[in-house]
C-alpha cells in the first residue's frame, strides 16, 4: 500500500498561517490503514490545530472530514461543500489524493499535511517496509520474488556487490538499522527454489524510461473505457 508520515506540526502551521477557515481532510484508504491520514488522524490534527489557535488567541475555524478515497473524483464530490467553504484544505491523503483534490477544486489552496514516503508492506502491526518503487519494468520473476531495485541499496541488476557481508549490506552502519543484502536473499530464495542458475545470467541494463525517469507516466485501458 501507499504509506505516508505526518509532517511536523510546525511545518503544518506554516502551511496554513493566516488562514481563517481550515478543513483537515483525511483519506480513508491507504493512509488510514497506515494510521497516518484517515478520519481519526484528521480529527486529531484538527483538534491540535484548534488547541494551538486557542492558546495563541487566534480565531480560526477548523473542521475535519474524510473522503473514502481522495484520488477519485466521485468521492471528492461527497466532500465538495466543505472544501468550497474552507480557505485552505490540509489534505492528509497521499500525494495522489492531495493533487486530485488540488486539481478538482482549483484554484482552492490545498496543502499537504503528510509526506508520502513509499509503497510499503505491513511487516507487523505499525511497521511498514518498502517493497516496490513502481519502476514500470518488474523483474522479480527472475529474482525469486525479491526486488533488487528497491531492496538493494545500489539497485544492482547483477548482484551481489563486494559490500555484501554475512547477509548484510555495507550501507548498514552501527547507527543505522541493519539492511539485509537483497542479493544474498535472492540467492537463498533461488537456491530453495532450485533455480540457482538464474544467478549466472547476465542482465542487461534496465530500461529506466519506464520508470518516473521517463517523464510522467500514463496508463490507458481502451477496453475498459466507457462506451
Amino acid at each position: 500500500m501507499i504509506t505516508a508520515e505526518r509532517k511536523p506540526f510546525d511545518e503544518i502551521l506554516d502551511l496554513v498561517a493566516g488562514k481563517k477557515k481550515i478543513l483537515v481532510a483525511g483519506c480513508d484508504t491507504c493512509v488510514a490503514v497506515c494510521l497516518t491520514g484517515g478520519e481519526k488522524e484528521a480529527e486529531i490534527l484538527a483538534s491540535e490545530l484548534r488547541m494551538k489557535a486557542q492558546a495563541d488567541g487566534r480565531e480560526v475555524e477548523i473542521e475535519h472530514t474524510a473522503a473514502i478515497r481522495q484520488c477519485e473524483w466521485e468521492y471528492l464530490d461527497m466532500i465538495a461543500e466543505k472544501v468550497e467553504a474552507a480557505d485552505v484544505v490540509l489534505s492528509m491523503a497521499c500525494g495522489i489524493g492531495i493533487q486530485s483534490m488540488a486539481e478538482k477544486f482549483a484554484p482552492k489552496l490545498v496543502m499537504p499535511a503528510v509526506n508520502t514516503n513509499m509503497l510499503g508492506m505491513p511487516q507487523e502491526h505499525a511497521v511498514w517496509l518498502e517493497r516496490c518503487v513502481a519502476c514500470g519494468d518488474c523483474r522479480i520473476g527472475l529474482t525469486g520474488g525479491i526486488c533488487p531495485v528497491v531492496r538493494c541499496s545500489k539497485s544492482l541488476m547483477n548482484g551481489p556487490c563486494g559490500g555484501s557481508h554475512d547477509g548484510l549490506c555495507e550501507v548498514t552502519t552501527p547507527e543505522k538499522e541493519e539492511i539485509e543484502c537483497a542479493w544474498h536473499l535472492i540467492w537463498d530464495r533461488l537456491k530453495a527454489q532450485g533455480r540457482e542458475e538464474l544467478m549466472l545470467e547476465l542482465r542487461p541494463p534496465k530500461d529506466w524510461s519506464k520508470s518516473s525517469s521517463g517523464g510522467p507516466r500514463k496508463m490507458v485501458r481502451e477496453e475498459a473505457k466507457p462506451v
Binding site: K40, I44, S47, E48, M51, K52, Q54, A55, A126
Partner: protein, 209 residues
C-alpha cells in the same frame, strides 16, 4: 508514524509525579484554583477501586470527574484531546495493573495512547504532564484515593489549562467524545453502593447525557 522514543510516560510513583510538577511549574500555586480533572476509569478495576475508596470512607479531592469504560483499551487519543480542548485541567486513565487486564492488553494500549497524547500536547505547547496513565486493582481503594490526590496536586502546581472557557464543560465534552465507548454511570450490578462522600465525586451526571 509514532516515534517510539519521544516521551516516556510517567509511572505511578508519587516521587516521579512530584518531580514533574515541581520542574514544570516554578510559579506559585493559586490557593483558589480548583482544577477539573477527567478520569477515564476501567469498569473492572479503577471504577471498583473508587467504590471501595468510598466504602472505606477515604478522602480524596472532589475535583475528579469519572467516565467509566469497559476497559482503558477503548480509550482513544481523540477522547483525551477533546477533554483538554474543552478546558479540562488534567486527564488521566486508570486501568488494571499491568498483566492483569481483563482483556489482556487494553491497559498497555492505553499507556501507549497516553504517551501519544503527551507528544501531541507538547507539539501544541501545552504541558504533557496534564495527562497520565495509572494502574490499580479493584482491591486498591487507598491507591485510588492516593492517585486522585497526587494528580490533583500536580495539576494545582501546573495551574489552569489555558484553553479553559466559560460555559464549556470539559466533562460533558469528554463524555460526548467517548460516547460510543463509555458505560452508564450507575454502579455495576453486584458492586457495593458507593458511600455518599464518594458518590459526590464519582457519579456526576454529565450535561451530554
Amino acid at each position: 508514524m509514532a516515534e517510539p522514543d519521544a516521551v516516556v510516560v510517567e509511572t505511578t510513583g508519587s516521587e516521579g509525579a512530584e518531580a514533574v510538577a515541581a520542574e514544570a511549574s516554578p510559579k506559585p500555586v493559586d490557593p483558589d484554583f480548583e482544577p477539573e480533572i477527567i478520569v477515564f476509569a476501567c469498569h473492572y478495576c479503577a471504577y471498583a477501586a473508587a467504590d471501595l475508596a468510598g466504602s472505606m470512607r477515604l478522602q480524596y479531592p472532589s475535583n475528579i470527574r469519572m467516565i467509566k469504560l469497559p476497559c482503558t483499551g477503548k480509550l482513544e487519543v481523540i477522547h483525551l484531546l477533546r477533554a483538554i480542548e474543552a478546558g479540562a485541567d488534567g486527564v488521566y486513565a486508570a486501568g488494571c495493573l499491568e498483566g492483569e487486564c481483563h482483556y489482556l492488553k487494553g491497559n498497555l494500549w492505553a499507556r501507549q495512547r497516553i504517551g501519544q497524547v503527551k507528544r501531541l500536547l507538547a507539539e501544541v505547547g501545552l504541558e504533557p504532564e496534564r495527562v497520565e496513565m495509572y494502574n490499580m486493582s479493584s482491591a486498591q481503594g487507598a491507591e485510588f484515593a492516593r492517585v486522585a490526590t497526587e494528580f490533583t496536586d500536580r495539576i494545582k502546581q501546573l495551574g489552569p489549562n489555558p484553553l479553559r472557557r466559560h460555559g464549556v464543560s470539559p466533562h460533558a465534552a469528554a463524555r460526548e467524545a467517548a460516547g460510543d465507548v463509555a458505560m452508564p454511570e450507575e454502579a455495576p450490578a453486584g458492586a457495593s453502593a458507593p458511600a455518599p462522600d464518594a458518590a459526590s465525586a464519582t457519579t456526576e451526571k454529565g450535561p451530554a447525557e
